[in-house]
Amino acid sequence: MSRKPYVRAITSEWIFRHPRYVRYMVREFSCLFIGGWTLLMVWGLKQLAEGPAAWAAFLEFLKSPASIAFHVLALAFAAYHSITWFKLTPKALPLQIGEEFVADAAIAGAHFGAWAALSLAVLILAGAF
């Protein structure tokens, strides 16, 4: 009997084969917004260094519709990155105390708690309220 193994081709449609792969891609795409926002802030640093007029122009640009739309998306994607990152942390850093492992929910929960507290602290210190 002759063997003739058949190799199935791989195309990019794997992404749509199951919701988990779509969610993975959304998570990965967060890098465009986090990176993009950071680059926008680097430009802001440039304007800050050039003086009050340049900084005022930067703040004006931030108020443009394109900037607002970008910020809303960036906030959503950045938050999705955070949520997925903290949910995966217990898998990468399991904690064994005694015989048992600390529950994933506890480790993730601690991270979410710290995230909330840190965010609140930054908002207060930055005078957002």
């Binding site: 465009l32 926002w37 800050l48 607002i68 906030l75 950045a78 938050a79 903290f86 930054v122």
Partner: protein, 113 residues
């Protein structure tokens, strides 16, 4: 098989991913508030200039920019491969160079503050 030197690029990615997970959303919120006309006090020129003038703040900001851009670059490299772009070395060079260029620019502007 020889051991890979991937840890060089992965270490900063993991650190950057963690840092951006904790910090980026609230920072985006700060500039979103500014975009909506409710700029937080810290974003007023005098306060921000004074804040960024401190050497410790400059160090922190440079570190934040580097780790944020690096982890985004690394993720973008992986994403390109996942989407079928096979020229990994070329993509890696471009994204990491962009991250370093962004960091370099930030450091340059920070020294002028």
């Amino acid at each position: 098989m020889a051991r890979s030197n991937k840890p060089i690029v992965w270490g900063p990615f993991a650190a950057g991913g963690t840092l951006t997970a904790f910090l980026t959303p609230v920072l985006v919120l700060l500039t979103l508030l500014a975009a909506l006309g409710h700029a937080p006090d810290l974003l007023a020129y005098e306060r921000l200039h004074a804040f960024a003038g401190h050497w410790l703040a400059k160090l922190a900001l440079a570190g934040l920019v580097f780790l944020s851009l690096w982890s985004a670059a690394h993720r973008l490299r992986i994403t390109c491969y996942d989407l079928g772009l096979r020229a990994d070395t070329v993509v890696a060079t471009i994204v990491y160079a962009a991250a370093l260029a962004g960091t370099g620019s930030a450091v340059f502007y920070l020294t002028r503050i």
